[in-house]
Subunit: 723 residues, 2 copies
């Protein structure tokens, strides 16, 4: 028996679509094209039945296997009309299986691959099913053997269960008669209708060139991820209003901005639907509070529920299907009037009353990177420019056709661009230098214009702007005031017209350079270092997953000793590069290491200080990643970051060159003495624990070295901090 396989996939980091085109035959198969007529089609995600034309090309009498949580009645309610008719008209053998239910029962979480494979071999009947299950078990041993016996046993159980778990659906004759009900389409922007939706349905290749008129220069509109409503979560948080203490931590850590506090004023309260539960906002007068959840944008990681500090959890993870009613309430919440932030935005709670200008990205469930980026947009998003290195952060932030960076009600949002892997720092510096040049010119113009006889208010607005032009704090208000004056004076003076033309540059921009450790520590380091050394006012945020995440986990210079990664299959031998120490060596670079899950306040402080520092800043953020193999699962990625700090594995610190002038310590070590065992932390992640399994002889030595490297680093920092 020969097999051939082609895989077509989109670029979403999770919940994206992979289409496997498989052929089997007694002769070698040399068919260099995809399958257009299939005997068997399986759909592994029930939400796809609405999103893709799943059955396209399935032969008459062919088989269709759908993984879903629906019973036969629910099936009838949920399958789209066209699918029902196709099944009936083409006499499709239709099977369903609840692979998620089985996987969870076995302990495999959301990993349904073995169950679905076993079911496939049972239904497709390509080789005797006993043979197939034996092969599958051999493959399990080969693939997961190094991950331990437990993993092997669970996967074997998945095979044994999966092979008999599919149920043939009795297709009722009524499916042949159902009338296609035209969905009431919500009005959406032309870009979404004409480009985003077709591309997301994997029908982008069929778009005519004419469809791309208006975006032919490659500039795509922001905020389009909000139209995807992918519904990929298995469970989503359900808010328990009575338990909630309104701390906003759930929103703070959410990687997808799918849970947000909403404030409702008295006028609005009079009109809210009954299901729109609220409670009086603690400490905010005449306001009600609601934690809104978007079930269709949530990826179901569960970090929100895990992080909830309420005595009884105010968030409970519930099956998606039970929470679909929240979708409408989410839209309702977003339709309320934006309120000025009632508390200081530079606090954990206050930051969440600011609109996230990064939402619903394609990042994995539980991603350790996006919560940092999201927070930055909440603080500075309306005046941000971002140069993004190639890597996960360029993929979750810019997977054509959708863009998760968005704009606020004034139309202000981050300007975002991605250049090459190796030149991102330079790209970001270029953005800054261009803006600097324009603002210098603007400044000279305003210095001249202040002399014009245009009244005292004009003069005052100009002077205020000139005085504060390089300060981020309050820059929007000062710019708005000057713009209002510009509009008021209605002068035809060329100088005034010139200033008005450049009014977008009146706001002090916040320049950011984003990238992962593969970029910052390795491929882009030469440029990063040069840009930091330049002394210019740029802010660098490194998502440190300690591995090339986007390409599947290759070793980078951020990978610590002993970690198993691609190109370091027997554990990395050299230690983790100390990027922060390198940056500190200049003496004029703000440097911080943060870990949101470990210290939300320190994370916020570091980001705020970095942005305010009038020179280069480097913030290195610990980001748990699927490549780490968290034994606790990605639903505990925030807690894992805490364990990294608590064990002394990851150090929290802030180095602020300005502190010296104020007579304070430049280097502050924010980590406390380790409270959990270092090796215990390592053993919680497959990247380390599998070393012990595969190379027991060297693992102890390498683990000890990892620990000693971390200790030596702490010691070095303490020396520099003057203890």
């Amino acid at each position: 028996m020969y097999a051939q396989a082609y895989f077509a996939y989109d670029s979403k980091k999770s919940g994206g679509v992979t289409i496997s085109h498989l052929r089997f035959g007694k002769q070698p198969i040399k068919a260099p094209y995809l399958i257009h007529k299939a005997d068997f089609i399986a759909c592994h995600n029930q939400s796809y039945v609405d999103r893709y034309n799943v059955l396209e090309g399935l032969k008459q009498g062919g088989s269709f296997l759908l993984n879903c949580t629906w019973n036969e009645r629910e099936l009838a309610e949920n399958l789209p009309t066209a699918m029902k008719r196709y099944i009936w008209e083409n006499k499709i053998n239709f099977y369903i299986i609840d692979a998620v239910g089985i996987a969870q029962k076995i302990g495999l979480g959301g990993r349904i691959n073995m169950i679905m494979q076993a079911a496939f071999f049972k239904i497709a009947d390509i080789i005797p099913v006993e043979e197939a299950t034996n092969y599958l078990k051999e493959a399990v041993l080969m693939s997961y053997g190094k991950k331990g016996d437990k993993v092997v046993a669970m996967n074997n159980a998945a095979i044994d269960t999966g092979v008999n778990a599919s149920v043939k659906v009795r297709v009722p004759a009524s499916w042949g008669n159902v009338q296609a009900v035209e969905d009431r389409e919500k009005p959406v922007p032309a870009f979404v209708k004409n480009i985003l939706v077709p591309m997301n349905r994997q029908e982008g290749d069929a778009l005519p060139v004419s469809a791309l008129i208006a975006v032919e220069d490659g500039t795509f509109p922001l905020g389009t991820a909000a139209y995807e409503k992918r519904g990929i979560a298995i469970t989503v948080p359900a808010w328990q209003a009575d338990k909630c203490i309104q701390c906003n931590q759930c929103a703070y850590v959410c990687p997808h901005a799918a849970i947000r506090p909403v404030l409702v004023d008295e006028k609005e309260m009079a009109k809210v639907p009954a299901a729109f539960v609220t409670k009086p906002a603690t400490g905010i007068k005449d306001m009600n509070f609601r934690m809104a959840v978007s079930p269709l944008d949530c990826t179901g990681c569960g970090n929100c529920a895990q992080i909830c500090p309420a005595q009884e959890k105010a968030l409970v993870m519930e099956p998606l299907a039970t929470q679909l009613g929240q979708a409408e309430l989410w839209e309702y919440a977003l339709s309320l009037t934006p309120k000025p932030n009632p508390i200081k935005k530079e606090t954990v709670k206050g930051s969440q009353f600011e609109q996230a200008l990064l939402e619903f990205s394609g990042a994995c469930a539980g991603c350790g990177e996006t919560p940092y980026a999201k927070l930055v947009t909440q603080l500075f998003g309306d005046r941000m420019m971002v140069a993004n290195a190639t890597g996960c952060s360029s993929v979750w932030a810019g997977s054509t056709p959708s863009i998760p960076y968005t704009t606020n009600h004034c139309g202000h949002g981050p300007a975002w661009g991605n250049s090459l892997f190796e030149d991102n720092a330079e790209y970001g510096l270029g953005m800054l230098l261009g803006v600097k040049q324009l603002r210098n010119k603007l400044s000279l113009d305003i210095e001249q214009a202040v002399q014009l006889d245009l009244g005292d208010e004009w003069k005052a607005a100009c002077k205020e702007w000139l005085e504060h032009k390089d300060s981020g704090q309050g820059t929007r208000e000062k710019a708005d005031r000057l713009i209002a004056e510009l509009e008021k004076v209605k002068s035809n003076e060329p100088l005034i017209r010139e200033i008005y033309k450049n009014k977008d540059f009146l706001v002090k921009r916040s320049h950011w350079i984003f990238g992962g450790d593969g970029w910052a520590y390795d491929i882009g380091f030469g440029g990063l270092e040069h840009v930091l050394a330049s002394g210019e006012d740029v802010n660098v945020l490194v998502f440190d997953t300690e591995v090339y995440s986007n390409t599947g986990g290759q070793s980078s210079k951020a990978t610590p000793t002993a970690a198993i990664a691609k190109f370091a299959a027997s554990g990395k031998r050299t230690g983790k590069k100390d990027l922060g120490m390198i940056a500190m060596s200049y003496g004029y670079v703000y440097v911080a290491q943060i870990a949101m899950g470990a210290d939300k306040n320190q994370t916020l402080k570091a980001i705020v200080e970095a942005e305010a520092y009038p020179g280069p800043s480097l913030v290195i953020a610990y980001a748990p990643c699927i490549n780490h193999g968290l034994k606790a699962g990605m639903s505990l990625s925030q807690q894992e970051a805490k364990r990294a700090v608590d064990s002394g594995y990851w150090l929290l610190y802030r180095y602020n060159p300005q502190a010296k002038e104020a007579g304070q310590k430049t280097l502050l070590i924010d980590s406390k003495e380790p409270t959990i065992d270092f090796k215990e932390f390592l053993m919680g992640e497959v990247r380390y624990s599998s070393l012990q399994k595969q190379f027991p002889d060297v693992s102890e030595v390498l683990f000890e070295k990892t620990k000693q490297d971390a200790r030596a680093r702490l010691e070095r920092y303490r020396q520099l901090a003057g203890r």
Copy 2:
């Protein structure tokens, strides 16, 4: 009056040839080709009369101006026959001028340009001579105004003197009759005769392709700079045997390996020529000592004489012409049998009994870079591989056609290559990885071969090699012993033949990566950092001139605050990058900062330790440079390095990761407390002093910052060293 100028030049850093092709006329000149028929030719260096066909193309009745120290009688003795006949037969108006004598009298050292320009305008009579001198003086003010009044005054004096200093030679009729005496040509290698000499005579373009057969792959033979005998010095050291204390420091600091200690045994003593003065070698039995000088290879910098610690200087700088007799004695000295080093080669004195395998390079007189490279070749040259970054070090070491790297009497010498500016570290790492692979294979072969029944001596040689194969110390002897065994066993065993084939890899190689600060701090840093992080056993030597020297002094990240450089015309604002601190942050990189002129022992120790360290090493060497504008002149470049250290401007330290295991301090600060004033040091170099002149308002602030940067750095190092 219009002028047109083309300049053709070779790539020697000093003493090279520049040919200025100048045209003047009342109409604009658009002649895009060089001059083949000239009215006037000047030769600014008397040694050129033998080396180039200087008068080629000079018209009948044209003028020839020769800068020389010869009077008319000496002229007759020294001019080559062909030149004399050309002058007579073509009725050339022949002028001489002693521009060097004038420049020295005025205080301009070897700078003769203004004198020669003035003399040109006088003789060539293109514009009225008063006008010409006025223009020249205007140009002086523009070019040198920022260097201070004294410099302007000296140059004006040079113009005033030069304009009347040329003397017309009464060409005797006898010059028309002189017979060309065929020089007794010393036998030289074919490469030298057929390629090097024509190319050096600027006749390379006329070489037929066939002349390059045998070097068509770009591999040029080593040791060819020794055939150049450029004779570009004005004064050269004359050894005062009676005063000499045999410390070898003069040889140690010589940038061109043009002064070397020679040992003469008793047998040889019996045959030496009378002029070959020696004295009994101190502490070495039955040996005589001589400090040999090569007047034709010397560039006349005078650092040897300056550094001589003898109570009365044992080296006195004398005009080249008076020392030409030494040339033959130099050749004689080199012809003596090589002696095993009678003392430890890892000492300043002992190192100089090792043959310099870098000699007579094209570097500037007083170059701060070459003494380091030369010393490395004395210690490891017979087993070195060098990857060289683009920059001065690639130019002085590899100016086609000649190569100053050479081989010893066994034919062993450095293998040297130059790749791109930006990838030199990777290039050097590649050399190592290639060799490592071959040696690993060799090692496996020998492990097998030791089992063969080839006698006890064979087994012993194999075992000894296997045990010590990765140690540089004694590797040559162990390899030689094994090679001798290989030749003795004369086995046809394929394994033995394979080992013999790879015998060049038996010696542990010493892998070096050379480059300047423009490479190491800037353009090649991304790669350098990656290579250091790799943990591989490479040695990096950075010639830190704190500026892009080769291209004329652009600012690099090694340039300290306040220094004036190209792209930092008003003084650099950011501080010097701390390359050493960055390398130390890995914890497994050997790092040292050295300054030969400040501490010869520490320099030697650092280089020896770096090479012995079985991992990556980085040695940052302070290298005074013509771009610094030393007020004391390049003859005191070694002393300037000492002042840099004595003022606290440059820090000496060694960081040895291995020390930790031995329970010792990893970081040793070798500098002492500053003994001279920091600003006094700065004021001794035009790169700093000119800031004061041009930007008096900011200079004090910037000087203070430079000082504070250096202080802060020292403080940081002390913290890390644990005081």
